[in-house]
């Protein structure tokens, strides 16, 4: 421990004179001292100095202080006992530090927190993603479907089958057994495992060990290492006072034995005293439980692969979400567009706009002359939302609508134009009296019109016109008729046909003229040809006219027909009579 050189120098520094000791001692001791000096010689100083150093706390602490770091390092390299020994001390120290000055520890830990938290969040997310992926795989993949079929077929549960197929190994139970009596000290079991009567099992395992040892020729030091069935192995690790036994399903790794050995050693260290004096009380071994539970490892045949499925599922989900949001937004936009269109449309008033379960609902007031709102928003109807319109009737006083209304109500004839100036209806063009009367009755009833301007309206009395026209026709017809005479004669013969033509016309003329409030006169004028005496011809012409006049009167023509005594100068070289109609 201490080198002689070191001690030598110490002795030099402290300079303890060899004789001091003997002088201080009392008589009987003096002799003893002298004896010591004689026996030990130079070493005596060394030894007494050493003793002083050990007794002197300060000096001893100094020495220890010099080597303590190295010693701890060395020990830490050898085994784990150092951390064990210090763990509770460190825990106490930390809690004390936290109690007295929490900010100090907080400051110290602060730089660690950030990365640690980030890291743990990453881990959690990664695990969640992997778990999700695993879940999807289990639910959707072909392999899992086959396994489900297997499970159904063999009557086992699906999770059992999964475990069987994916398990590399699983430590199901760990026993801590008192070596001598076979009694169970502690027992750890993994959540999925089925366990029966661990106390009975532990005793039986001990009995079996004894049985095997007794049955086969083995040395007394031999201990049972493992029991092996097809898929099940029980590993034993024997310590001086306790046995750790692990039940493993599957093919366990080589390290398991080492792990069990380490655990057993640790338990022996921790609970050595209790193991030795064990009389049935298992209470002290409760703190071994965490160690045993640490052995309950499970390894699945589960490669860490990139969670494609999960990411695909998430992407699909997000894509779907995005699509739906887009759709929703689109709907909104269309609905708003429709609203704008409806608002802008003349003759429609939007009084309500709601979003309902099926889509959007518009409430409108619609003037009869307005365009159909449904057709207006046809283009904005989309597949999954409907735009519903409910209309109530109303009358718009917009000029366009008032005019349209007026047109509809008045049914003006084609030659009439209607205009709206402020609230005045202006009527121009030509119409007959009948229509004008209708106009004058109807215009006050047209909503939105307050006055009528018909100054530019020409009212034609069509009836009168018709009559005039008829008269004109009759005149034309009568004037187109004539009767031819024989040469030199003024005798009427074979004139019945002619009379039958003329007389009705004249009668009609009379009737029509009376309707028009006029008096007709049909003048008959005769004519002669060029031959003969002019004077005679003149007389002949006059006679001819008179003859026809008399003849017609005889046949029933009304008295309005008179003869014109003068010859018809206009006609020459014609032996006839002609008519002329005059109206007075």
């Amino acid at each position: 421990m201490f080198s002689t050189e070191q001690l030598g120098s110490e002795t030099a520094i402290h300079q303890i004179p060899p004789m001091d000791v003997s002088k201080q001692a009392s008589e009987p001791l003096d002799a003893l001292e002298q004896l010591r000096v004689l026996l030990l010689g130079a070493d005596y100083q060394t030894l007494s100095d050493l003793r002083q150093q050990l007794l002197d706390r300060e000096r001893y602490s100094l020495h220890v202080a010099e080597v303590i770091s190295e010693a701890l390092t060395l020990r830490a390299q050898q085994d784990n006992s150092l951390s064990e020994a210090l763990s509770s001390t460190i825990e106490t120290a930390v809690s004390r530090s936290v109690e007295s000055n929490p900010s100090r520890l907080a400051n110290a830990l602060y730089p660690v927190m950030g990365p640690a938290i980030r890291r743990s969040i990453q881990e959690v997310l990664q695990q969640a993603l992997e778990a999700f992926n695993y879940l999807l795989e289990q639910s959707l993949s072909v392999r899992s479907l086959i396994w489900r079929f297997d499970a159904w077929r063999t009557g086992r549960s699906y999770s059992e089958v999964v475990l069987l197929k994916t398990l590399v190994y699983q430590v199901e139970q760990v026993f801590l057994i008192h070596r001598e009596s076979g009694l169970l000290l502690q027992h750890a079991v993994s959540p999925q495992a089925i366990t029966k009567e661990p106390e009975l099992i532990s005793s039986m395992m001990t009995a079996i060990q004894d049985f095997v040892r007794d049955s086969f020729h083995v040395t007394s030091e031999t201990s049972l290492k493992n029991l092996h069935l097809d898929e099940l192995t029980v590993f034993f690790n024997q310590g001086p006072y306790a046995i750790v036994a692990a039940v493993v399903r599957g093919s366990p790794p080589a390290e398991l034995n080492t792990t069990l050995a380490e655990v057993n050693e640790q338990i022996h260290r921790q609970s050595f005293f209790f193991l030795k004096v064990f009389q049935g009380d298992t209470q002290p071994f409760k703190n071994s439980l965490p160690l045993l539970e640490g052995c309950l490892k499970t390894q699945l045949r589960y490669k860490k692969k990139f969670p494609w499925l999960a990411i695909a599922a998430l992407l699909i989900f997000m894509g779907a979400g995005g699509w739906w949001s887009y759709q929703y937004y689109q709907q909104q936009v269309l609905a708003q567009q429709a609203l704008a269109v409806l608002r802008a449309e003349p003759g429609l008033v939007v009084v309500g706009f709601d979003k309902t379960k099926e889509g959007y609902h518009y409430e409108l007031l619609k003037d009869p002359q307005a365009r159909e709102p449904v057709t207006l928003i046809q283009s904005m109807q989309s597949f999954d939302s409907s735009l519903k319109i409910a209309t109530k009737p109303y009358l718009s006083l917009e000029p366009d609508f008032v005019l349209a209304r007026a047109k509809q109500i008045l049914q003006a004839p084609t030659e009439v134009d209607l205009f709206l100036e402020a609230k005045t209806l202006k009527v121009t063009g030509k119409a007959d009296l009948l229509w004008q009367q209708k106009l004058e009755q109807a215009w006050p009833l047209i909503a939105g019109i307050e006055s009528l301007d018909q100054t530019e309206l020409q009212v034609a009395d069509s009836a009168a016109e018709k009559i005039a026209e008829h008269l004109h026709n009759l005149s034309m017809q009568i004037e187109a008729l004539h009767f031819k005479f024989d040469s030199g004669s003024s005798l009427i013969s074979h004139a019945e046909a002619h009379a039958q033509q003329v007389i009705p016309l004249i009668l009609d003329l009379l009737k029509t003229a009376r309707l028009a409030g006029k008096m007709p006169q049909v003048s008959i004028s005769g004519a002669a040809d060029e031959t003969g005496n002019e004077v005679i011809n003149e007389r002949l012409a006059k006679e001819r006219a008179v003859a026809m006049h008399d003849y017609l009167l005889e046949k029933g023509a009304p008295a309005v027909v008179i003869a014109v005594p003068m010859p018809d100068i206009g006609r020459r070289d014609e032996r006839s009579i002609h008519y002329q109609v005059d109206l007075f």
């Binding site: 009596s181 009975l200 009389q279």
Partner: protein, 169 residues
Amino acid sequence: MLQKKICLLGAFSVGKTSLIQRYVNKLFSEKYLTTVGVKIDKKQITVGKTELNLMVWDIAGEDDFTNIRSAHLRGLSGYIVVIDGTRQNSFNVALALHERIKTELGEVAAVFALNKCDLKEQWVINREHIRTLAQLGYPVIETSAKLDQGVEEMFMVLARQLVPKKPEA
């Protein structure tokens, strides 16, 4: 809950198994007795304020041909020796066993059970025998598996010996 290992000993076919059949918690069937040589059962019993978990090692009967394995006796806190009242040999075996255990393990809690007391008329065990047993310093209890007599008592008497005597607080 105190855990205690106790052994049930006795000659071949004295009625050990029949005795305890209804009083214990079983996992292993009778065939273990003949194959492995021991069958382990569990008996829970309460003595005063203490709960005891008795691991009962039912050890295959000793006779001229088979010896009880010493290994099984290791670590036991107490034992019950069963004697068939109708067979003298079982009495001798019981005494021998008791001696052996005393030699190997020292003074341990023990109880002697005189089984088949329903067949008292056939008994060969007399008062002398019983006195011999009593002189050993351990309780002697008459039992009958058939009539369901004395078994609980048998366990209770042994259990009382196992519980450490602490002064009441």
